[in-house]
Every structure is written in structure tokens, then in C-alpha cells.
């Protein structure tokens, strides 16, 4: 009897590392009636898929690599009001479960920010492995989730003249990863 591997439900096996040049990991959050954006760079990430289909996605980014447009704002984000880079210099993620259905993917895991771990569910899309011009094999994954920053102890705010808080609690996280076979 033979086994047919259902490639619409499994991940490509092997160890895949993030291509930091072309990948993007960022956040956006509602602030003062608009949307404020930033990026994390550099980012490291590895997807390890065993022959049995078991897969684990891990990733991390240094807090010192949180990039925004203004140096004073960047310093504020590094400070105890936000990420507290001195006491918690790294943001990290580790999956506990990955499900694929066609080109859709759901990754459950634990996100650690400011030394606080919270469960998160990332949803998005996954591409098929293809040869790249550099002789490697790669595919892309796009993942999104929304987290409540206050659950990680990031509670800073400033009231608007109306009394409403200037900064929302919900932060949208987006990871667009190019994964290259090691």
C-alpha cells in the first residue's frame, strides 16, 4: 500500500530560514485618528518541517531594531514606557501548532514581548516552493494577527483634548516572510 502526501495540507519539509533582505515584519496601530506604522529589522526566523510533517516556526527580533521615522519617537519606543529594551531586549515567537489548508495557513503559538508571553493565533497565506535566481529554493508566507499591547504591560497613553486615549490598545502585526531552504 502506498501513501499519497496531500501537499495542499502539508508544509514543504526541511529547514527553511528567513531571507532578511526581502522579508518584512511590521506593526501598525491607531494613533490620534490615524494609523502609525513601524518595522522590526533585522528579523530571524526558521521553519523546521520534519519528514512526518511536524512543523515549528520560531522567530525573533531585537527591540533595538524597532524602526520608526523620528529619533525621539524611536527612543520613546525603546524606553520603559514601551518595549523596555534594556530589560527585555528581544521579541520572540514560537509556534505550538501549524495548520494548512490550500494556500491558507494558521499558526498558533506564543509571542514574548517585554518579557511577557501571550498566546497568539497568526493567520495568512502560503506559497509554493520555487527555485530562485540564486540557485536556492524558497517560498513565502504572509501572517497577520492583532494583539492587545496592554496584555504585554505596554500601557502608555496620552489623552486627547476630548479625553479619549490617543493610542489604541490593539496592535496589528504583519510578517511577510521569504523562507529559503537551508
Amino acid at each position: 500500500m502506498s501513501t499519497v502526501l496531500d501537499t495542499t495540507r502539508t508544509l514543504p519539509n526541511g529547514t527553511w530560514s528567513v531571507d532578511p533582505t526581502h522579508s518584512h515584519v511590521g506593526f501598525d496601530i491607531d494613533y490620534m485618528g490615524g494609523t502609525f506604522r513601524g518595522t522590526f529589522s533585522p528579523v530571524t526566523a526558521t521553519l523546521a518541517v520534519g519528514d512526518d510533517g511536524d512543523a515549528t516556526l520560531t522567530g525573533s527580533a531585537p527591540v533595538s531594531g524597532v524602526h520608526v521615522q523620528d529619533e525621539n519617537l524611536a527612543a520613546h519606543l525603546q524606553s520603559p514606557d514601551f518595549f523596555d529594551a534594556e530589560l527585555a531586549p528581544e521579541i520572540s515567537f514560537r509556534s505550538t501548532d501549524i495548520e494548512r489548508s490550500g494556500d491558507e495557513i494558521t499558526v498558533r503559538g506564543s509571542l514574548e514581548v517585554r518579557g511577557v508571553e501571550q498566546p497568539v493565533v497568526l493567520r495568512g497565506t502560503i506559497g509554493e516552493p520555487a527555485e530562485d535566481p540564486y540557485g536556492g529554493l524558497r517560498f513565502s508566507v504572509r501572517l497577520e494577527t492583532t494583539v492587545d499591547r496592554t496584555a504585554f504591560g505596554i500601557t502608555w497613553n496620552n489623552p486627547l483634548p476630548t479625553g479619549e486615549p490617543a493610542l489604541a490598545k490593539d496592535v496589528r502585526l504583519v510578517a511577510e516572510l521569504y523562507l529559503v531552504k537551508s
Binding site: 529619533e71 525621539n72 524611536a74 527612543a75 520613546h76 524606553s79 520603559p80 514606557d81 534594556e86 530589560l87 531586549p89
Partner: protein
């Protein structure tokens, strides 16, 4: 472990200077409190004067803060808020904002006043100001109301509960400074 003490009052025999000395008495044995006496010499903040090299009094203040592991501020309350000269000094200390000497510095705030509230509002406003500078500000404080009744002739606190509150604050401040030092060492090793 060096803690820099800043009294928000200029008066030589101020209650807040006494409160700093009382804090020095309850500091852990491996910590010392140095009371900074340069507040009166701080000129009014003027962006035209805010250049490199900084005015001598400002350079001295920044050096004193940078060289301390933690800062303890004891403030009176003027018209329900921070004494002007103290706020002015912190405005100088906060420049340039992104790299100022207070950034990440553990800071605790206590206060004494002749009224009943012990400079509680001034302490609250100082916490807001110092958080904006990027300092690591303790939420806990000590409010010494009716200050003339709270110190004996030698300047010691007469109320054991107040002294215990002060002890708790300085222990937390020193602990915060130790935690920060360990974290900085880890970062340095990793780099």
C-alpha cells in the same frame, strides 16, 4: 551603588533635604546617597544656551546624574505642582531627548510639605515629567505631611511607619538599579 539625591527645595534646612538624609540612613549597606547641591546654579532653560559644550552648571548636573546608578528626588509642592527650579533643571537634564542622561535611569520620588498632603500632587506631576524623559520611574512614593512634626531635633523621622515606607521605596529603587545593571551586562556580553 551610588544614588543621587536631589532636593526640590533650595532652602538649606528644607524638610525635603532632611527627608533625603533620612533616606540615606535606611539605604542598603552597599549603597551610598550623594546629595546634589547644584540646583540653585541651574540657569533658566533657554534653547539658545542649549548647545555643546553645555553651560558649566548643566554639564555638572548631567555628569552627576549620568554617574549615579539611581536618582532619588525629594520634592516640596508649590501651588499644587512641581517647584519651578526643579522642573527647570529636569528640562535641562532631558535634552537631547533621545539620549538624555535620565533615559532608563531608575528614579524614585518622595516629598515633604508643611501641609497635610506631603507634596502628593507635585510627586504625581514629577512622575509624569520623568516618564516623558524616558526615566524608569517607580510608582511608589512617600508623602510626609505636616513635616515640622515628623522630624526630631537631629533630623530623624519620628514616625516609624513613614520610615518603613521610605525604606521600602529606597530598597525598590536600589533593586531596580541592580536589575538594570545586570541587564546591561547581559547586553554587553551578547554584543
Amino acid at each position: 551603588m551610588k544614588v543621587l539625591g536631589i532636593a526640590g527645595s533650595l532652602r538649606h534646612d528644607s524638610w525635603n533635604r532632611k527627608l533625603l538624609r533620612a533616606a540615606a540612613d535606611v539605604l542598603p549597606s552597599d549603597a551610598e546617597l550623594e546629595i546634589w547641591d547644584g540646583l540653585k546654579a541651574v540657569p533658566p532653560y533657554d534653547e539658545d544656551d542649549d548647545h555643546d559644550p553645555a553651560p558649566a552648571a548643566i554639564a555638572q548636573m548631567r555628569e552627576a546624574i549620568a554617574g549615579a546608578d539611581a536618582v532619588l528626588i525629594a520634592t516640596p509642592e508649590y501651588n499644587s505642582s512641581i517647584p519651578g527650579q526643579l522642573k527647570n533643571a529636569l528640562d535641562w537634564a532631558s535634552r537631547p531627548l533621545a539620549t538624555n542622561v535620565l533615559r532608563n535611569k531608575p528614579v524614585a520620588i518622595v516629598g515633604a510639605s508643611t501641609g497635610v498632603f506631603g507634596a502628593a500632587w507635585a510627586q504625581a506631576e514629577l512622575r509624569k515629567v520623568l516618564a516623558t524623559t524616558g526615566a524608569r520611574v517607580l510608582d511608589d512614593g512617600v508623602s510626609v505631611g505636616r513635616a515640622p512634626e515628623q522630624f526630631d531635633g537631629s533630623g530623624r523621622l519620628v514616625d516609624l511607619d513613614i520610615e518603613n515606607s521610605l525604606l521600602a521605596v529606597v530598597e525598590k529603587l536600589v533593586d531596580q538599579a541592580r536589575t538594570r545593571e545586570r541587564a546591561r551586562r547581559r547586553i554587553a556580553v551578547a554584543a
